[in-house]
């Protein structure tokens, strides 16, 4: 018992990690492949070739020609996650011929292997959210934050993907946690540098982390700047910053074999790719955003509509509450003035400044890490495509602020009345936490594997998102919902166009048994017998081309969530009176939609 008591936090973190990993690992084969995963799994298979080379011909594996042969592909992203996918692929994927179909008993193993590193990263991330929440506040705050984080349907969706968003969230959080402990510690400072290097090795969001930590240092230590006759005095610069400066780039360069030769040119290409990144079109409040300037409110509105409402409310209370306590009198005076104008009686400033028990440094760490990632996307020239995944690394901090806010609300309950009701604050906290998290869980169950379609209760759910004209999907994974129908109903050898599904994903679907082996890939609706169209505001003309081909607008089969169409299957060769002559007759009849 003593051991459990001493290591309770570690054991809870382990439990959270194991549970998260178990759920993600079990669900991995059921989630459709996203477009980006198609590119990354393809890249990982190439990188696996280099690891084979390294094992078989270690002398040659470091030659530029050999490295380039394997690492030229998908050089626009660092390779830490893809290298792990490559190793997982070598260890766990079916070993048969890459281009053939795997036997039924091995189906799903490929995608499970490719998503395994992401599952691990996500599981660790949930554990770290708990540990960080427990460190800055309390165990119950940490537990609430971890659950609020992973149960948010958008977060859960991204947690499953063989992509970089959840891994970089983990690395960002780990760096912040190490930095927090690094004040006078060489060990934690070195760890800060290493974790930031790993973050850089995952995704470029990490380039912005020094901005956040630098701001944190300026705010918390800014008072120690002084200018006197003896000159300008600086507060002590944290050791962690030096370690980041040295170790960050070092880890980044070491992890990426492609940068071992012709380093500056290749690094320049990588940076230039992202500095000049094309703006993919994005639907937002009924408008198609195409070119900058983009609305500054975009990340805030999307967060307000895609984080479960109770969690969002608590995050807002937590954020502004902590901010108010940090800014102190001017903030509260302003608030009180507003409240009095509204006829509301308010507390005194002294009451409002009561401590939560959380240190000033921790408070700013939470505030800055919640706000800055959104602020970066709010800059009108920054590309906005991809939605909330680009500020996913802010969400652990937002969820901790939610847990803190809940804690404060429970503390505000009159103790005597609780005693009369035989309630303890802990019991009330647990009950309220359950009530707050229940909508997240219900929303998650409701949208299932179609996570990008989730909009919260404020938006009106999935249908509300469609009414508001918000981006519904963008990664083609929702096509998985119509593949069983396609397998069951398409004639042998039919040409199939899966809108937005790239060649890599099509190949994977066939190889892993999600698509029948005899179906042939078509590249356009015009060259197909059947087309599955995914609604995407940018590509509505694709559906209109299909109508033009079909002669009418009849859908053969569809995937709908709350009546909102996600994937629609059209029988292009179906006879229609509106068609001109020259179309071949359809060769099959599929079941009527009756009873579905």
């Amino acid at each position: 018992m003593k051991y459990i008591g001493r290591n309770a936090n570690a054991l809870i973190a382990l439990g959270l990690a194991l549970a998260t990993f178990g759920v993600l690992f079990a669900n991995a084969p059921h989630l459709g492949l996203t477009r980006d995963e198609g590119y990354y799994v393809d890249a990982a298979e190439h990188y696996a070739g280099w690891f084979r080379e390294l094992a078989n011909n270690p002398g040659q594996a470091f030659d530029d020609a050999v490295i380039s042969r394997y690492y030229e592909i998908n050089r626009e992203h660092p390779v830490l996650v893809k290298n792990m996918m490559a190793l997982s692929y070598l260890a766990f994927a079916p070993s048969g011929n890459r281009s053939s179909h795997w036997p039924p008993e091995e189906r799903g193993a490929y995608i499970r292997a490719m998503r395994l590193p992401a599952d691990l990263f996500s599981a660790l991330c949930v554990a770290l959210v708990f540990l960080f929440g427990a460190a800055v506040a309390s165990r119950r705050v940490g537990l609430f934050a971890a659950l609020a984080f992973i149960l948010a349907p958008r977060h859960f969706f991204h947690a499953q993907l063989a992509c970089f968003d959840m891994p970089v969230t983990l690395a960002w959080l780990a760096t912040v946690m190490a930095y927090r402990r690094a004040a006078d510690s060489w060990k934690w400072s070195i760890l800060t540098g290493l974790t930031w290097g790993l973050a850089l090795a995952i995704k470029l969001n990490a380039f912005f982390l020094p901005v956040v930590l630098g701001l944190h240092w300026l705010i918390t230590e800014g008072g120690k700047f002084s200018l006197s006759r003896s000159g300008l005095k600086f507060p002590r610069i944290p050791l962690a910053f030096f370690c980041m400066l040295v170790l960050g780039p070092l880890v980044f360069l070491l992890h990426w074999p492609f940068l071992w030769h012709d380093t500056f040119a290749r690094l320049g290409w990588y940076l230039s790719f992202h500095l000049n990144h094309v703006n993919y079109y994005w639907e937002y409040l009924g408008k198609l955003l195409t070119d900058p300037p983009f609305p500054w409110a975009y990340p805030f509105v999307v967060t307000a509509l895609s984080l479960p409402l109770p969690t969002l409310l608590l995050a807002a209370i937590g954020f502004f509450g902590v901010l108010g306590r940090r800014l102190g009198r001017p903030f509260h005076t302003g608030l009180q003035m507003l409240a009095r104008l509204g006829g509301v009686k308010t507390k005194t400033v002294a009451d409002a400044n009561d401590s939560t028990g959380m240190g000033r440094s921790d408070a700013w760490l939470l505030l800055l890490n919640t706000f800055i990632p959104l602020l970066i996307i709010a800059i009108p020239t920054v590309p906005i495509f991809g939605g909330m995944k680009h500020w996913l690394h802010a969400m652990p901090f937002a969820c901790i602020l939610s847990g803190l806010a809940l804690d404060r609300l429970v503390q505000a309950l009159p103790g005597e009345r609780l005693k009369k009701l035989r309630l303890t604050p802990r019991r009330v906290y647990v009950t309220l936490a359950g009530l707050v998290l229940l909508p997240s869980l219900l929303g998650l169950i409701h949208v299932g594997n179609y996570g990008t379609t989730y909009y919260n209760e404020l938006a009106g759910g999935v249908a509300g998102g469609a009414d508001l004209g918000m981006q519904r999907q963008y990664w083609s994974n929702d096509v998985s919902g119509v593949l069983p129908w396609i397998n069951e109903h398409l004639p042998h050898g039919a040409r199939l166009y899966l809108h937005e599904v790239n060649g890599e994903c099509f190949r994977s679907y066939k190889r892993d048994g999600y698509l029948r082996g005899d179906l042939r890939m078509a590249w356009t609706p015009e060259s197909s017998d059947f087309t599955s169209y995914l609604y995407h505001r940018e590509f509505v003309d694709t559906e209109y081309r299909i109508w033009n081909l079909c002669g009418d607008k009849k859908i053969a089969y569809g995937l709908y969530l709350d009546q909102v169409p996600l994937a629609l299957v059209y029988d292009i060769k179906r006879p229609s009176p509106a068609k001109g002559a020259g179309y071949p007759r359809a060769r099959l009849r599929y079941a009527s939609p009756q009873g579905r």
Binding site: K347, L409, A412, H446, G595
Partner: protein, 291 residues
């Protein structure tokens, strides 16, 4: 006062929980769609059209997508003069979207209101439809299409499926298309001008009261920062009826000319499409002679 935030949190949590429990119960079933299909099909007449509210609710097209289904974001503002009656299938909570404009003021009275499970099927009577004597889009295969290059006119003589092909360039044709103009899909004639005038001549068009056209650019064309205007000249028996200068905007813009003085015909009607710069000029139009 200090319990107010807690009360708000409790209310929001209960509402949110209720939302995910109740919302699925409000969704129409397959049987509801079948019932709606049956109502529409049994009462369908020539000149009817059908829309769905909200506009994105595509599932009904599994059942009646072969009928004259119109997808519109704003049906109140639409010109319904080609149709005699309008069927409206509504999802729960969306039916009232239509109760403004002519549908709210009894200009278009409601003839039927039938519940099909959780779907509602309404039938509206529209003012007597215009008599369309000639639809230029439908009769495109009768047209003679040519490009007026400096060295002389070049005939686009190859008809493939739904278009006159003018060259190997994949945009260089005059064809029956459905494209997005403004926010909605429109049945139009694609007439992307190159650097030379594009001429579409119909040899035998009956006379009538009005010649009506709609013009517009597709959204990608309208986004082109240096997109030049396109001029559509309309000639009847060699005499210019009028012209539309389409500025670089997406939309579905109407224009019409009185042709009653021209007599019963047949007439030769020619559309000439020109632009000072042909790049990204995804120009589209449709035209009708109305009686």
């Amino acid at each position: 006062m200090r319990l107010l935030p807690l009360a708000i949190l409790l209310s929001v949590s209960l509402y949110s929980t209720g939302f995910w429990i109740v919302d699925p119960l409000l969704q129409p079933s397959g049987e509801d769609y079948l019932a709606a299909e049956s109502i529409v099909r049994q009462n369908w007449q020539q000149g009817d059209a059908v829309i769905v509210l909200p506009w994105w609710a595509a599932r009904i097209r599994e059942y009646i997508g072969d009928l004259e289904f119109i997808q519109l974001r704003n049906p109140q503002a639409e010109d319904w003069s080609s149709f005699s009656r309008l069927w409206v299938v509504s999802l729960p909570g969306h039916r009232h979207d239509l109760f403004t404009g002519p549908f709210g003021h009894w200009t278009h009275p409601r003839l039927k209101e039938i519940q099909a499970g959780k779907l509602t099927v309404d039938l509206y009577d529209l003012p007597p439809p215009a008599r369309v004597l000639y639809n230029f889009r439908d009769r495109l295969s009768d047209a003679r299409v040519s490009m007026h290059e400096p060295q002389g006119p070049r005939l686009c003589s190859r008809w493939v499926e739904n278009r006159w092909v003018c060259s190997r360039r994949d945009w260089n044709y005059v064809g029956r298309m459905i494209v997005e103009l403004g926010d909605d899909p429109r049945k139009i004639i694609w007439a992307h001008p190159a650097d030379y005038p594009l001429e579409i001549a119909y040899p035998s068009v009956p006379g009538g009261k009005l010649l009506r056209v709609h013009t517009g650019f597709t959204p990608p064309a309208a986004r082109a920062p240096d997109g030049a205007p396109v001029t559509l000249r309309v000639l009847m028996d060699g005499r210019e009826l009028g012209r539309v200068v389409q500025q670089n905007l997406t939309g579905y813009f109407p224009a019409e000319w009185d042709i009653s003085a021209a007599g019963p015909g047949p007439h030769q009607v020619t559309f000439v499409v020109t632009s000072p710069r042909g790049g990204m000029r995804h120009f589209c139009f449709d035209a009708q002679v109305r009686g």
